[in-house]
C-alpha cells in the first residue's frame, strides 16, 4: 500500500509541477520564439509555444527526486537519464531552428550504440517465429535499428493534439503494470512520474487558448524512454513467467508507430519520392479524413491502441505472441487500406467537382 501511496504522491507532484512550469514558460517561449509557426500542411492556425517536452522532463525529473527508488538505482539506469538529456537538448534546438536530419540520425545511432554497450539490448526474439536467443551481430543490428526506428516512429506520431501524449499515457500505464510485475521498481516510479507530467501537459495541449506543443524535444524523449525501458522490461522478464505478457505489452505499445512509419515510408518510396517527404498519409491523417475533428481522432486512435495492448497482452499470455503479431498486422493492414481508399475517394471527389463545374 505504501508503494501505491508513493506513486500517487509522485504523480500528483509531477502533475502540479508541470502545470506551474507550463504556465510560466509559455510566455517565455513566445518571447524567445520557441514556437511552431503554421503553414499550409500543418494543422494549426497560430504560433504555438513548444515547451511541452522541456516542461515534462523537468517536472518528472524533480518528482523522481522525491522517490527512494530513484536514489537507490540511479547507477543502473543512467542511460535513460543521459539519453533523455541529449535528446531533449537536440530536440529543443531542432524546434527552434531546424537541425539537419542527418545530424539527428547520427546522434540517435550514437545513443543506441551507447545503450547497447551498457548492456541494454535485444538479446532474444522471445519465441517470435520460433526464434529465441540471437547471435551477437544480429543483436547489435536489431537493437540499433529498433531504437532509432522507434524514436523516429514515435516522433512522427506527434501530428495532432493529444495523440502523442495519449499514446504515451496508455503506453506508460501498461508499462507500469509490467514493471511492478517484474519487480522493476525504479522503472515503475519513472513511468508514474512521466504519466503525471503528461496529464498536466494534456490540459494545455488540448486547450484552445493556452495551447502548447511538446515538440521534437518531447516526442523524441518519450519515444526514447518507451523503447529503451521496453527493452529493459523484456530483459528483466526473461526467463520468468511474465515474459509473454511483457512481450505482448511492449509490442502493443510500440506496434502502431512502427507499423505506420513502415507503411508510409514504403508508400512514398513506391511513388518514387523520398521516404522523408512530408505528406498527409499517416494513420492519424487517414482517420481525420473520415471527418473527425482532431481531439476526437486522437481519442479514437488512443482507444484503439489501448485495446490492441490489452488484446496483445492477453493473446500473448494465453496463446502465442507470434499469433498476436500476425493478427495485429493483418488488422492494421486492412484498416489502413480501407482508410487509404477513403482518403483517395475524398481527394477525387474534390477533383471531380471541379471537372463537373466546367
Amino acid at each position: 500500500m505504501d508503494q501505491i501511496k508513493e506513486y500517487f504522491v509522485i504523480l500528483a507532484f509531477s502533475l502540479v509541477l508541470v502545470l506551474i512550469l507550463l504556465q510560466l514558460l509559455r510566455k517565455v517561449a513566445i518571447k524567445i520564439n520557441l514556437v511552431d509557426k503554421p503553414n499550409a500542411r500543418k494543422m494549426h492556425k497560430k504560433p504555438i509555444p513548444i515547451i511541452g517536452g522541456v516542461a515534462i522532463v523537468i517536472a518528472a525529473g524533480f518528482a523522481l527526486l522525491l522517490s527512494p527508488e530513484f536514489w537507490n538505482s540511479i547507477n543502473e539506469y543512467y542511460v535513460l537519464v543521459v539519453g533523455t538529456i541529449v535528446l531533449l537538448v537536440i530536440g529543443a534546438i531542432d524546434d527552434k531552428m531546424d537541425v539537419r536530419a542527418s545530424l539527428k540520425l547520427i546522434i540517435q545511432i550514437a545513443l543506441a550504440y551507447f545503450i547497447f554497450n551498457s548492456g541494454v539490448r535485444i538479446e532474444s526474439m522471445y519465441g517470435i517465429f520460433g526464434i529465441y536467443e540471437l547471435p551477437y551481430a544480429i543483436q547489435y543490428i536489431l537493437t540499433l535499428l529498433v531504437i532509432v526506428g522507434v524514436i523516429n516512429a514515435f516522433n512522427l506520431m506527434d501530428g495532432i493534439d493529444g495523440l502523442a501524449a495519449g499514446l504515451s499515457i496508455i503506453g506508460f500505464s501498461a508499462y507500469t503494470y509490467i514493471a511492478i510485475l517484474t519487480g522493476e521498481l525504479f522503472l515503475a516510479v519513472l513511468f508514474v512520474a512521466i504519466i503525471g507530467a503528461i496529464i498536466g501537459f494534456l490540459k494545455f495541449n488540448l486547450s484552445a487558448t493556452h495551447k502548447v506543443f511538446m515538440g521534437d524535444a518531447g516526442s523524441l524523449v518519450l519515444g526514447y524512454i518507451l523503447v529503451v525501458s521496453g527493452i529493459m522490461l523484456l530483459q528483466s522478464a526473461q526467463g520468468s513467467a511474465n515474459v509473454s505478457c511483457a512481450l505482448g505489452v511492449v509490442i502493443g505499445v510500440l506496434g502502431l508507430p512502427v507499423a505506420d512509419s513502415i507503411r508510409v515510408y514504403y508508400k512514398r518510396i513506391k511513388s518514387g519520392n523520398s521516404p522523408f517527404k512530408a505528406d498527409k498519409t499517416h494513420f492519424h491523417h487517414l482517420i481525420l479524413m473520415l471527418g473527425f475533428e482532431h481531439k476526437r481522432a486522437s481519442f479514437i486512435i488512443t482507444f484503439f491502441v489501448m485495446c490492441v495492448i490489452a488484446l496483445s497482452a492477453i493473446f500473448g499470455t494465453m496463446f502465442n505472441v507470434t499469433l498476436a503479431i500476425i493478427s495485429f498486422l493483418i488488422l492494421y493492414v486492412s484498416i489502413s487500406k480501407v482508410l487509404d481508399i477513403n482518403r483517395n475517394i475524398t481527394i477525387w471527389r474534390e477533383k471531380i467537382k471541379k471537372l463537373e463545374e466546367k
Binding site: 480501407v338 481508399i341 477513403n342 483517395n344 475517394i345 477525387w348 471527389r349 477533383k351 471531380i352 471537372l355 463537373e356 463545374e357 466546367k358
Partner: protein
C-alpha cells in the same frame, strides 16, 4: 472468317428489358447484333421468376441464363462474379456492364485469353446512395475495372476526362439510343385520365433522389403557380420522396405521379409536354435526357458538365431554383420550340440504337485484336527530357491533352 464470336453480356437485370438504361441497351444490342454474334445475356432469377412463364430461354436469338441473385445492391458482386466465371467457359468477349465483379478481372486477364470490355456506368462510387463501405469497394473496383479490361467505355465525354486523368487510359464513348421512344397522340380516355394534357406543362421523370435536384425543381414550380409541372418518380421509396410529396402534392399546378413502367404510357405524358426539366447532377449521360431530346422537347437541365456534353451546350441550364424560375418565366414559346428542334437534331444524330450497336460491334472487333490497353500519353513521354530532345520529340513531354480544358 470462322465461326461467329460468342459474346456474354453481364451485369444487367435481364431481358425483356423492364428496368433501366443497361437493360434497354442490352435489348437493343441483341436486336441489332444477334445475327452477327452468338450472344448470351445473364439475367436475375429474382426478377424473372419461374412461375407464369416469365422466364424465357431465348430473347430473339440471344440465349438467356438465370442466376438466383439480385443484379443490383450488394448481391451484384456475386451476381457479376458468377456470370463472369460462367462466361469464361465459352465466350470470346465479355461485355460487363458495371464494376461490381471487377475484383476478379485481374485473374481473368492474367490466366485466360478472354477479352473484356467493361462499361463503368457513370462514377458510381460518388453517388450519395451508397454507404461508406460500398463507396470504398466501388472506388477500388473501378480502378481494377479500367486497369484490367481491354477496353473501357464511358457514356459521356466528361467521364472520359476523368478516366484519362485518373488512370491515363482512353475510354471509349458510347452513349445511349433514344429511338425506341415515340410521340404519342392522346386519345379521349387519356385526356380524361390526365387533364393536364390539355394545356402546356413541364415534365420531369427520374428517380426521386437528392442528386436529381427534385427539391429544387419543386421549389421553383411552387412559386410558378401559372405553370404546370408533372413529375413522375418513385416518391414512396424514400423519406426524401415521401417528405416532398407531402409538401407539394396539394398544389394544383404540381402533379406528382408514381412510377410508370409502360413505355407507351410514359411516352404519352412525356412527348406532349412543352418542356423537359432535367435535374440530374451526377452520372454521365442519362437515358431519360436523351429520350426527351429525341422526342423534340426543349430541355432545361442542371448545369453540370455531363448534361452540357449530352446537349452539346445548346440547351438551357440552371443551377438552383431561382435560375429555373427565371428561365421558365423569360423563355418564350417560340424560343422553346426552336430549342426543341435543336435537341431533336442532336438526338437523331447521336442517340440512335443502330449507331450505338454499331459502335459496340466495332469495339468487339477491336477487343479481339488488341493485346494491351491504349494509354492517353504515348509511352515515349516517360523518357527523360534530354533524351526526347535528342530524338526531336521534346514536345511529347508536356502536352496539352484533350481533358485539360480552359
Amino acid at each position: 472468317m470462322g465461326a461467329k464470336k460468342k459474346i456474354a453480356v453481364i451485369g444487367t437485370v435481364g431481358l425483356p428489358a423492364k428496368y433501366g438504361g443497361f437493360e434497354t441497351l442490352a435489348a437493343h444490342l441483341v436486336k441489332n447484333l444477334d445475327r452477327k454474334y452468338k450472344i448470351t445475356v445473364y439475367c436475375s432469377g429474382k426478377k424473372y421468376k419461374k412461375i407464369n412463364n416469365q422466364r424465357q430461354t431465348y430473347y430473339r436469338f440471344a440465349r438467356l441464363k438465370y442466376l438466383p441473385f439480385k443484379a443490383n445492391g450488394i448481391q451484384s458482386i456475386i451476381y457479376d462474379t458468377l456470370s463472369i466465371i460462367h462466361a469464361l467457359f465459352y465466350a470470346d468477349v465479355l461485355l460487363v456492364l458495371g464494376v461490381a465483379g471487377a475484383w476478379i478481372l485481374p485473374f481473368v486477364k492474367t490466366f485466360t485469353n478472354k477479352k473484356i470490355i467493361i462499361s463503368i456506368d457513370g462514377i458510381e462510387w460518388k453517388r450519395d446512395k451508397w454507404n461508406f463501405f460500398a463507396k470504398c469497394y466501388l472506388f477500388w473496383a473501378e480502378n481494377l475495372a479500367v486497369k484490367y479490361s481491354h477496353i473501357d467505355i464511358s457514356d459521356n465525354e466528361s467521364i472520359q476526362d476523368y478516366t484519362a486523368i485518373r488512370y491515363g487510359s482512353l475510354s471509349r464513348i458510347i452513349e445511349y439510343g433514344a429511338d425506341h421512344t415515340m410521340k404519342v397522340v392522346p386519345v379521349y380516355e387519356d385526356r380524361q385520365e390526365f387533364p393536364f394534357l390539355n394545356k402546356p406543362y413541364a415534365f420531369k421523370v427520374c428517380r426521386i433522389e437528392p442528386e436529381n435536384n427534385v427539391h429544387e425543381v419543386l421549389k421553383a414550380f411552387s412559386q410558378l403557380t401559372k405553370y404546370t409541372l408533372v413529375m413522375v418518380g418513385n416518391w414512396e421509396n424514400s423519406e426524401y420522396g415521401r417528405g416532398l410529396k407531402q409538401q407539394y402534392e396539394k398544389r394544383a399546378s404540381i402533379i406528382l405521379l408514381d412510377p410508370i413502367y409502360e413505355q407507351s404510357r410514359l411516352d404519352l405524358l412525356r412527348s406532349n409536354a412543352l418542356v423537359y426539366i432535367h435535374g440530374h447532377a451526377a452520372g454521365g449521360t442519362n437515358p431519360s435526357l436523351v429520350e426527351a431530346m429525341y422526342l423534340g422537347l426543349p430541355v432545361i437541365a442542371y448545369g453540370v458538365s455531363y448534361n452540357r456534353t449530352t446537349t452539346e451546350d445548346k440547351a438551357l441550364y440552371f443551377k438552383n431554383h431561382k435560375d429555373l424560375i427565371g428561365l421558365i418565366k423569360n423563355t418564350t414559346i417560340k424560343e422553346l420550340k426552336a430549342q426543341g428542334s435543336i435537341m431533336g437534331e442532336i438526338a437523331k444524330r447521336r442517340y440512335n440504337w443502330e449507331l450505338v450497336s454499331d459502335k459496340y460491334s466495332q469495339l468487339i472487333t477491336e477487343a479481339l485484336m488488341v493485346k494491351d490497353k491504349v494509354a492517353v500519353k504515348p509511352r515515349l513521354a516517360q523518357l527523360g527530357v534530354t533524351k526526347l530532345i535528342e530524338m526531336n520529340l521534346g514536345h511529347l513531354k508536356h502536352q496539352h491533352l484533350f481533358f485539360e480544358k480552359e
